[in-house]
Amino acid sequence: MLCNNKNHFHHEQGKCDMTIRKVLISLMVCAGFYSIPVLGQQYKIASAGGSITETIYALGRESVIVAVDSSSQYPASVTTLPQFGYFRQISPEGIISTGATHVFAAKGFGPESAVEQLSSLGMNVEIFDVPRTVPGLHTMIRQIGAKLDAATESEALIASIDKDIATIVKKSTQSRQTTVAFLMSVTDHGLRAAGQDTVPHLIFDTLELTNVFAEVNGFKSVSPETLVVTPPELIIIPSHQVEGLSTSDICSLQAMKLYASAKGCNVLIVDPLMFLGMTPRLADAMQIVLNELK
């Protein structure tokens, strides 16, 4: 299931290999897990934020998760756990009802009054920053690892991610001449693109590709004309934004028409969590981009 995403995703062998490697690492560290008390406590974690949930899984500590928020969609087994809503708009009682003793959440967990209420009722709330840099990802993994008595596993995971990224970058034949874009939304009302300080930009920058919307900060509405003036070699769109649309449907939208007629319909639909969250699958996302550019 780890390599089995929706049919319209472009899946390449390289990505699967890396995912399998990470799962194997997770399984290896899992082998010793049940003999390790998690900081001497019985942890039952409500995990809030796809990045946090994926990291706990990648560290082999998934057995401590009792519930997740709706943004936690990977790996597939996570969807069988009880859900307590979206992590930015939680209900304190909803989380308590899951039987969790701890909440591990990404920054943005809220509303603030609900977080305070959870803490006042004795829930241990740990909030982790999810900065959009590779060192930031390292820090998040280390912090979660430290809380789960998985320092060794977190270092192994970080080394694995770094090695994968280094291998991908080394093998890459692309240069700054190659232009790419990530469109957060594509509708007849316009485009919303990823600029600086976003995970897609980090992926492009690490691969030494040029983001045509690099002048924008965050996710912003942009003019479709940019796609005509500086047509990217590849446009990446998260799957949740184009449910029910094929790539040809997308390219026939008003905002994309001119680009498609000039450059062709070079659109790649991807797993949103992999490309929008800071997860241990960062290298997998890079591999997908490179494979598509080949």
Binding site: S70, S91, K107, E112, L121
Partner: protein, 348 residues
């Protein structure tokens, strides 16, 4: 002649009986709704457990006392406050579409709350705790809007109703435009916070938020209640009210301040809870009367009950997830409202 008089007298008595029955029935329904609100939720604990079970844990007691009770009370108080504000504004402006939004209070709150989220995401507030920053900003937004309304529409102590409506439209448009600019400037995470705030939510409401809300709503309600006769005369026309000795400008000014204060305190902690201020007054008028002495308490009871019911639904439809309260108030109220309209038209 006397037969007709007797018939009219009987009809009046029948109507009064209906009014009393409805008012008493709605009042009696509040404790029932309150008990249900306290008894249901994603955590498996109810009021009876807490009252009679000895083996109950401290956490279960806290769920009732710290989460469900203040939340239930807040829904009732804010629902009552918003409905009463709607009654006053519709009566004062003689406009069936008047609601707390018409004078720009809601839009002002939403704009300042968005500015608050933006500041929190960038430089942060130096002297205000994070959890208080948004309610305070939303409250100031409401106060600022009402001050702006008086500055635009008021001249030499005169407050013309039509100018107030137009000024309200201008403030709404300005606030919406500025909110649009903020939405363009903020990052994705802040954008989502703004969106959720605008959908309204009672998650995280405790006694800290409930106490000031209750205080302002109760004071505001009693002020408006004391002015009910003057407001009734005002709704018949300013000239007529003046000839009856009513200082109409002063009345409008203070009534607007009272309604704005009620709306500001309701909205600042929970975000925008739509529908209640607009439609509950109409429902109450259709069911009972336009007489403010009956309409004000009845709207308070119906508004409180409706929001409490909507919150029960929001918490329990998809447990342990929660739905936005604003959607549920409309979902519960609109079908009933449509039924009432059709009934008034004689359509079955």
């Amino acid at each position: 002649m006397s037969t007709t008089a007797t018939r009219i007298s009987r009809q009046i008595t029948k109507h009064e009986l209906k009014q009393r029955t409805l008012l008493i029935a709605s009042l009696l329904s509040l404790p029932v709704i309150a008990i249900v609100a306290i008894s249901v939720g994603p955590a498996s604990v109810n009021l009876l457990d807490v009252m009679f079970q000895k083996s109950i844990t401290e956490l279960q007691v806290n769920i009732i006392t710290d989460i469900r009770v203040p939340r239930m009370m807040m829904t009732m108080v804010t629902g009552a406050g918003l409905a009463v504000s709607g009654v006053i504004l519709q009566s004062m402006f003689k406009n069936p579409l008047a609601d707390p939004g018409i004078v720009g209070v809601s839009a002002g709150s939403a704009l300042f709350a968005a500015i608050g989220f933006w500041i929190n995401a960038s430089i942060g507030f130096a002297f205000i705790p994070y959890s208080l920053s948004i309610p305070l900003m939303a409250f100031f937004g409401a106060v600022f809007s009402i001050a702006l309304l008086f500055a635009i529409a008021g001249e030499s102590g005169q407050l013309q109703t039509n100018l107030l409506v137009l000024a309200g439209v201008a403030i709404n448009t300005l606030a919406t435009m500025l909110l649009g600019i903020i939405i363009l400037l903020v990052d994705d995470s802040t954008l989502r916070q703004i969106t959720f705030w605008n959908l309204g939510s009672y998650a995280g409401i405790g006694f800290t938020q409930f106490a000031p809300t209750l205080l302002v709503v109760v004071i505001g309600f009693f002020f408006l209640w004391r002015q009910r006769r003057a407001l009734t005369l005002l709704s018949l026309g300013e000239k007529q009210a003046r000839t009856q000795g009513i200082k109409t400008e002063k009345l409008k000014l203070w009534s607007l301040i009272a309604t704005a204060a009620i709306v500001a305190v309701c909205v600042c902690f929970t975000g925008i809870v739509g529908f209640v201020g607009l439609v509950v007054p109409h429902i109450c008028r259709m069911l009972l009367t336009s007489k403010l002495s009956i309409l004000l308490p009845f709207a308070a009871v119906v508004g409180g009950g409706l929001v409490a019911l909507a919150d029960i639904a929001a918490r329990t439809i998809n447990m342990p997830e929660e739905l936005p309260i604003g959607l549920l108030t409309s979902l519960l109220g609109v079908p009933f409202f449509i039924w009432l309209i059709r009934k008034q038209r004689g359509i079955r």
